[in-house]
Structure formats: C-alpha cells, structure tokens
Amino acid sequence: MAEAAVGAVGKQRAHRLGPRGVIRELARNRALYLLVLPAVLYTFVYGYITLPYMAIAFEKFNFRTGILSQWVGLKNFQYFFKSTWAATVTRNTLILNFLFIVIVYVSSIVLALLLNEVRAKRFLKVSQTVMLFPYFISWVVVSYMLQGLLNTSTGLLNRIIAGLGGEAVSFYSTPGYWYVILILLRVWKYIGWTSVIYLSVITGIDGSLFEAAYIDGAGRLQSVLYITLPLLLPTASILTLMEVGRIFYGDFSMFYAIIRDNGSLMPVAEVIDTYVYRTFKLTGNPSLSMAVGMYQSLVGFALVFGSNALVNKLYPEGALF
C-alpha cells in the first residue's frame, strides 16, 4: 500500500499529466472512472466538504446563520485550554490509549506464543473460537455485561467479594478502579483477535529454521526466544505503531457505552471524543466542540503522519497507506 499512495506519487505519470492530459485520460478510461465515482463522491462529501465547517471553531455558532456566524477568533480555544478539561481529557486519552496498546500488545504476543505450543488441535480450535468471540460483541452489550459484574448489590464480582467476607465495592462511583477496569475490558475484547493475527505470522515462519535449530541442539524455549520472537516482533510492532499513531483518538463507542454520563467517573474516563460529543450534544456548544475537535485533528494528524512515516522508513511493506 505504501508505494501507491505516498512514495510513488511524485514520480509517476499521474502527476505529470496537465489538465488536458487528465481530461483525455478520463475520457479514454471513462468506464474505469465511473466505477470509482461513488467512492470519490462519498469521500468528497465526508472528507472534503466537511473541512470548511472547521471555521466554526473560530465563531460563536448560531444554527440560523450557520457557517457564517459571528467571528470570535481564538476565544473558544482559550476557553478550552483555560479549563481543567483540557488537561484531563488529553491525559486520559493519551494514558488510556497507551496502556491499551502496550498491554494488549504484550498479552497478545504471549498468548500467540502459547497457542503456537498447543498440540491438541481440537482444544486449540475451540479456545481460539471462544477467545475471538468478544471481538464481535458491541460495546453496548459489553456495558450491560459489565454492570452485571460490578453492580453494587447484585453484581457477580460484589457477590464473590461478599462471599469471601469482604465489603461490597461501589465501582460506579469510585474512579480509582477504572483504569484497571477499562484495561481489562480492552484485553478481554481484543486479546483473542490480536493473538490470532500474530499466530498467523508465526505459522508463516519457515519450518526449516526450527529444524536447523533443533539439529543444532536448541531446546523449545531457545527456538521461541531466538527464532519465533525475533521474527514475530517486527510485524507485531509495526501493527502496533500504526495504533500509536491513533493514540489521540479515543474509542467513542467504548467509552460512551460504558461510562455514559456518569460524572463521578469523568475525571479518569472522559476522553477527547466523549468530551467533544458532550460539549456539542449535551451542553449544546458547537463552537467549543469544534475547537476541541480541531485540537484533536491537528495533533492527531501529526501523530498519524509521523508514525506512518516511521513505519514507511523502517518497513515499507507494513505501512497502512
């Protein structure tokens, strides 16, 4: 993907075509361009027509005047960066995403290595099927599952705590637990999925390497440490690096389904995306929301672009674009 999208653009004839050449090209292969037209139009509407609306960040938005509302300059940005929310949502987004990425990455690698050692085919298949299952479940369903576990009076976890003689914990009003809870949820949902991808990388490794190692007297653990792991890590790291690029974007579907409008958890679980939503839909301030959104778009762009450039440099095959 890398070369087509970025690397080769400057070199190839697409860029050398003048306006005339483009028209001639369009006419010559009109059937081809007709095929791509729906995608081009869709992307134009959602990817390009949306851009001018970003001006709302510098205005005092009014639904009647729309995009031509009163200009207020950087006022919305000042308001946001002076509020405590700026630090809170930035910190939560970065820390939570970082922990999600690292912990899912490490645990999935470990699980993939373990799965690779399982010799009982049937057991392997069943456990993979089971562990992949959470990936397909919507966050809304997950949120009810979580309530079933954590509810103060009826939750399974609190019943177990009570059974062990402890006192019920009011999870939904104690922010302290939530980094751990959210991370566990993330691992629960993605560990099966990620490890299956990693496992497919491992199974793609040339078997003669292991044979050679075996002949040279390497044990099981040694061949994992010196063959499997070094060959798995580049691919896994590159996939992960792509996620690091998106570290400034919180998973709205996850956070909003689970935290909802629970004010007592917001100090640890409000991320940029839910904050943008809240200022827009619940407090009804599109301009402020747009200012925060622009902050996210710009920093997020720098991060995606940077990480992708890095991937392109380290391992061109692995870059997403």
Partner: protein, 288 residues
C-alpha cells in the same frame, strides 16, 4: 522433532484454558441471567446458574407494546442495505485502483489517503449530515460513516493486484468492456476478499449505535443497539403500559435478554465470520 515434556504442555493448556474462561464466563453470565426470575436476581445477584428459571423477559420482549421487534427490523434493514451498497462501492473503487491502465490511480490513492489521516471531526460531520437530510430516518443509519471505508477498498485492491493482468487483456480481446470485465471476470475471483469486507461492513452496521446517538431522535428509527443503550426508558414504558398485569416487571433479566437477542445473529453466522475475518485480517494487516 516436536517432542516436549507433558508437564509444560499441561501448564500451557491450563493457561490457555483459563484465558478462554476469562473470555467466555461474563457472556455466559449474561445468558444465564436472562433466564432468571427477577426475585432470583435480587436475592442471589447475577450468577452463572440462576436459582429460579423463567422465560418472562423473552416473552416481554415480543409482546405488543415492546419496541424490540421494530428496532430489530430497523437494524436488519440498515445492515442489509448498507452492507450491500458499501461492498459494491468498495469493490468498484478497489477494481479501478488495482487496474494498471488507470492513469490517475496514484492521484486517486492520495485523494483517499488524505481523508484517512485528517478528518474534520464531529461537528462538521454532523452539519453535513443535517444539510443532506440524514436525520431521523433510516438513511441516517446507512449513509454516514459506514457506507464506505477506504481500508476495505485497499483490501480489495491488494487482492485484485494478485490476479494476473492477462485475464483483463484476454477479456478486452474478446470484446468485453471494462465494466463487464470487472463484474463477469474479476468479481467471481474476488469472492474471498468480498466475503471478508462483507463481514467487516455487516458487523460495523450491526454494532453501530453512534449514528443513532448523533442523528436519530425519533424512536421509530432506533436500531437495536440504540434501543438497548436506552433500555431504561424502554423498561419504564413497558412497565407503565403493563401496570396491573405483572407486579414485578423483569428489569435486570430484560436487559440481559435484549443483549442476548442483540448478539443472536452474530452467534449464528459466527463460524463463517471467524474463518473470513482471520483470512481478511491477515491479508489486510500483514501484507497490507
């Protein structure tokens, strides 16, 4: 050569088994609690094996005042229509981008790439949808965000690049047009990647509640996920309309039963999902 001690095998199996339980047990709890009586839940809490069984929650869900069947129908329509349109758009675009004759394909790739790395955000997205009339109707659930994903288009393109170009040439010699070649020759060959993106899109549609949160206020157009998200209001409506019929409306079990109903179709197609998701993801992630 693959000999090793049975002890380490047993330890590995035990760890994998424990992780499988960690993944499955919470959902099992949801399933079991959906069949519990409200009294059993109040007394014993959520369990993996209720002390009293009842199908009341499921009966409630399909009675005359329940909006669950309607929401189900909304979700099914949005998923079917949306997935179909999305797959067609992605296939056609992927075909053109894979075609070596397409002189503008690098420019097009850049055009799509830009939107993948920079997005205007939520407010402009909302404004555009409002301007297009995509609020409070079924199209609000179909068109915004979900109907085309460049990522899936790239999956198609990468797959089609692996098909020898001589196929196209022989088609052209036989007098077929570009569209005919795309649909009569390449489409059947692309079946595996089409299955993969179909499933990607279908899952995205089925599990989506964001579009409804943002664009739908009219409960007639609530998809299943949105109804489930707002189940509290649904519960109070049902119990208001049913006062006198039942003394204790099954609240907790109703939530769980609706959750189970929501993932029902996913469980049904799960065996296919698993196969193609793994295949597609490996193509997309590793070779991408």
């Amino acid at each position: 050569m693959r000999r090793r001690t049975t002890v380490s095998q047993a330890v590995i199996a035990a760890v994998v088994f424990a992780l499988a339980v960690f993944c499955l047990a919470p959902m099992l709890m949801v399933l079991m609690t959906s069949f519990a009586t409200e009294r059993a839940i109040t007394i014993n809490g959520y369990t993996l094996w209720p002390s009293e069984w009842s199908g009341e929650a499921y009966r409630r869900m399909f009675n005359s005042v329940s909006r669950v069947p309607k929401a189900y129908w909304v979700t099914i329509r949005a998923t079917l229509a949306g997935t179909f349109i999305a797959v067609v758009i992605s296939y056609c675009a992927g075909y053109t981008l894979a075609c070596p004759q397409c002189g503008l394909r690098n420019g097009l790739a850049l055009y799509f790439y830009i939107t993948m790395i920079f997005s205007a955000g939520l407010v402009p997205w909302y404004m555009v949808n409002r301007a297009l009339g995509l609020t409070d109707n079924i199209w609000a659930l179909i068109v915004p965000s979900l109907m085309f994903s460049p990522f899936n288009m790239y999956l198609v393109r990468n797959f089609l690049r692996g098909v020898p170009d001589s196929l196209r040439e022989s088609g052209l010699i036989d007098g077929a047009g570009e569209t005919r070649i795309a649909f009569m020759i390449y489409l059947p060959l692309a079946a595996p990647v089409l299955a993969t993106i179909t499933l990607f899109y279908a899952i995205a549609y089925w599990n989506n509640y964001f579009n409804a949160v943002m664009l739908v206020n009219n409960a007639d157009y609530y998809p299943l996920q949105m109804l489930l998200f707002n189940i509290q209001s649904e519960l109070s409506m049902i119990s208001n309309m049913m006062t006198g019929v039942s003394l204790t409306p099954p609240k907790e079990s109703f939530k769980m039963a609706t959750s189970i109903i929501t993932i029902g179709p996913i469980i049904l197609v799960y065996p296919f999902l698993q196969r193609y998701f793994i295949k597609g993801m490996v193509v997309g992630a590793v070779k991408g």
